[in-house]
């Protein structure tokens, strides 16, 4: 039974993290363990992935937080629905000297996201036994992290508002919140112009190294759409720019797939309003092609406001998904039944099917993608007119 191996492997992973947190270059090595698509994440359940992720993120409090890891922590704060993972991210942030400017907002967002599903936990080991020696909760750790930085001064109005919502938090969390507020008030010059440990720079978004235009790699990728029609990837995504997102209908995180498809519908409405919808292809491709049959794709999109037409279609790969996964370097992995973890990822493809821009891991906004579409359409129009001018010369 694979469950035996899995349980052992989680404890082995915990031992590895504990070892690395004591190494001089442990931070960088821990950061290398984060991407979802690495082999050590394959074959695990979502619950194990949460446990491993939360424990790993918390270790950055001891090693220091490298830049490469920061987007992963922000992702967990912005989209985490499991208290353990969110708590791990909050603890891990204490490994940075200065919070990037957009992190305090992510911390407050996590307070909102996790408020109704908080739980008692412990980071004393990766699988601590009850009763815990050092129990904590996600909300406690979120507020504690705010208190560790001058963010507590910058966020005083929001924190005070939260402290007035007494029916929202357990007594112990309220006490922690009051403590953070008092500390924030006591910080010299408590104001938005906060001091040393908050909050400068911005967090890295997107990622370098997007794949080149598809060549032979995607020749065999066959897609089936929400109505059962079959297309070759290389044919469908050529000739005009395309927005491609990845999702799966069984995703149980409302801040990931459901939000992504809802935002795709918003992009579609904007393009229609601008009468630009025929110039851009919109597509969503399932991470879970064996389960997401056409009917499920259609219902999932329609329920979130997508209007299917020739330019807007949802797909599952009926062959070549492995090639597709490799080419996009998708941030996804699988347990025995379905996806066990994935990042948020949206790609803007140019008319040759190459990736012009991508929005990965962090939450993205429809307006940002619309601006990127406008820029791409404009660039391609300029290139085309230059080519025509050359031909006419």
């Amino acid at each position: 039974m694979s469950a035996d191996v899995r349980a052992t492997a989680v404890s082995v992973f915990g031992a590895l993290v504990d070892d690395l947190r004591r190494q001089p270059d442990g931070a960088a090595q821990l950061a290398e363990l984060l991407p979802e698509n690495l082999p050590h994440h394959a074959g695990r359940s979502s619950a194990d992935m949460v446990r491993m992720r939360g424990y790993l993120l918390a270790a950055f409090a001891d090693t220091g937080l490298p830049d490469a890891a920061l987007p992963f922590l922000i992702e967990s704060l912005e989209t985490g629905v499991d208290a353990y993972e969110v708590a791990g991210a909050a603890i891990g942030l204490r490994g940075t000297a200065t919070l990037p400017a957009d992190v305090p907002a992510a911390l407050l967002r996590a307070v909102d996201n996790i408020g109704g599903s908080d739980a008692t936990m412990s980071f004393e080991s990766i699988r601590p036994q009850l009763p815990y020696a050092r129990p904590t909760t996600a909300l406690t750790e979120l507020f504690r992290t705010v208190g560790c930085f001058d963010a507590s001064a910058m966020l005083l109005p929001q924190l005070e508002r939260l402290s007035r919502e007494r029916e929202r938090f357990p007594k112990a969390v309220l006490a922690e919140l009051r403590h953070v507020i008092d500390a924030g008030r006591a910080r010299p010059g408590n104001s938005a112009a906060a001091g040393d440990r908050c909050c400068g720079g911005s967090m890295p978004r997107g990622r370098a190294g997007d794949p080149p235009p598809p060549g032979q790699e995607l020749r065999h990728v066959e897609l089936q759409d929400q109505d059962g029609r079959v297309e070759l990837f290389e044919h469908y995504f050529r000739g005009r720019p395309a927005v491609v997102t990845f999702f799966y209908t069984r995703c149980d995180n409302p801040f990931k797939c459901s939000a992504t498809i809802t935002k795709l519908a918003a992009i579609q409405r904007s393009l229609r309003t601008q009468q630009a919808d025929a110039r851009v292809t919109l597509a969503a491709i399932s991470y879970d092609p064996d389960f997401d049959i056409p009917e499920r794709l259609r219902v999932y999109g329609a329920d979130r406001g997508v209007v299917f037409d020739a330019s807007t279609r949802f797909f599952r790969a009926t062959s070549g998904f492995a090639e597709l996964r490799r080419w996009f370097d998708l941030g996804v992995n699988y347990g025995g039944s379905t996806v066990n973890r994935h990042q948020i990822e949206v790609y803007l493809l140019d008319s040759d099917g190459g990736v012009a821009t991508s929005f990965r891991r962090s939450q993205w906004h429809a307006d940002t993608v619309l601006r990127a579409i406008a820029d791409l359409l404009s660039d391609e129009a300029t290139t085309e007119s230059k080519q025509q001018a050359r031909h006419s010369c």
Binding site: M1, S2, A7, G116, R250, D290, I293, G336, S337
Partner: protein, 324 residues
């Protein structure tokens, strides 16, 4: 409603209110008497600041008859979550293994109801989950079973780990093996297929029905589901559930198998009828009615007096044929 009827109704309502008020007064008087008896033992019950009302005193007093304390809980009912002290008292009772099992079960019931008031209950949720986790190892089986069920529906990792450990023989199972598998299967992001395959080997048809129902979340279970659907030795109920799960995962594959079963005169009439009904109502009409040979064979089934129930559904399928 005329004026006379309105007046009679109003009078009736006034009378009901008066009776309710009188009944409430009688109960409060009795509660005060009971609490007075308890007050003498107050120092043994809980910190003094907790015992500031007759209700709190009676709730905390384990020497009171179970019925008295359970009636009080029932009366507190909907107002429970309006006063955090009552929730805290219920949590203390629930986790007190020295208290009466009946009273503890009543406290668990009350807390379960209160937890549906999501916003009002939010400050207590963490403590409630902690209490439920304590019950995973409680000696009272009913409390254990309820707590494990609630936690499993929340996909609580502590209970999932306890169930997995128990199934693997690494710890005690808080509930029966079959129930443990079903509770784990509530979370389709766990890798439950091997456990569901084990559950399917049960002698109980209800366990096998549950197994094939949950297998509907696992594309890798398609072979198992088809095999169960085709197995004439299996009970009709299990095969019908297997048909539903296979159709959910792979409608095309289901339709192909269902067509074979529907016209197999040696197969179980109940399964044949279910297949015909599903093909008629839920399948792709092009697949069903585009297959002329199949439709002709169904028409023959419709004339088969040996299986009248199947014949009836077969005729319905033929009659539903869309005009093309």
């Amino acid at each position: 409603m005329n004026e006379g009827e309105s007046e009679r109704l109003a009078q009736q309502l006034r009378q009901d209110l008066e009776e309710a008020e009188a009944e409430r007064s009688r109960y409060l008087s009795r509660l005060l008497e009971v609490a007075a008896g308890s007050r003498e033992r107050r120092s043994e019950l809980a910190p003094a600041d907790v015992l500031d009302s007759p209700a709190m005193i009676v709730l905390a007093d384990r020497s009171q008859p179970d019925g008295e304390r359970i009636e009080l809980m029932d009366r507190l009912g909907a107002s429970l979550s309006r006063d955090p002290r009552y929730i805290e008292a219920m949590l203390r009772i629930l986790t007190d293994r020295g208290d009466s099992p009946d009273v503890r079960e009543a406290a668990l019931r009350m807390l379960g109801s209160a937890s549906f008031q999501v916003v009002r209950f939010r400050p207590h949720r963490v403590a409630y989950i902690d209490a439920l986790r304590e019950l995973i190892t409680d000696p009272v089986p009913e409390l254990r079973d309820t707590a494990v069920g609630v936690l499993a529906q929340e996909n609580d990792e502590v209970v999932q780990q306890a169930l997995l450990n128990g199934l693997q023989g690494d710890g005690p199972l808080p509930v029966g093996r079959a129930r443990a598998i079903e509770l784990l299967a509530e979370d389709d992001h766990l890798d439950n297929l091997p456990w569901l395959q084990e559950l399917f080997r049960s002698d109980e048809a209800s366990d096998r029905v549950a197994a094939v129902r949950y297998m509907g979340s696992y594309p890798a279970a398609q072979d198992d589901l088809e095999s169960v659907l085709r197995d004439k030795r299996e009970s009709a109920t299990v095969r019908q559930q297997s048909a539903a799960s296979l159709r959910f995962l792979a409608p095309d594959r289901f339709e192909a198998v269902a067509k074979e079963i529907a016209v197999d005169v040696d197969d179980d009439p109940a399964v044949r009828s279910a297949c015909l009904h599903t093909l008629s109502r839920l399948a792709d009409p092009a697949t069903v009615y585009g297959d002329t040979e199949f439709v002709n064979r169904v028409a023959e089934v419709g004339r088969d007096d040996a299986a009248p129930e199947v014949a009836k559904v077969a005729r319905e399928l033929v009659e539903h044929q869309p005009d093309s």
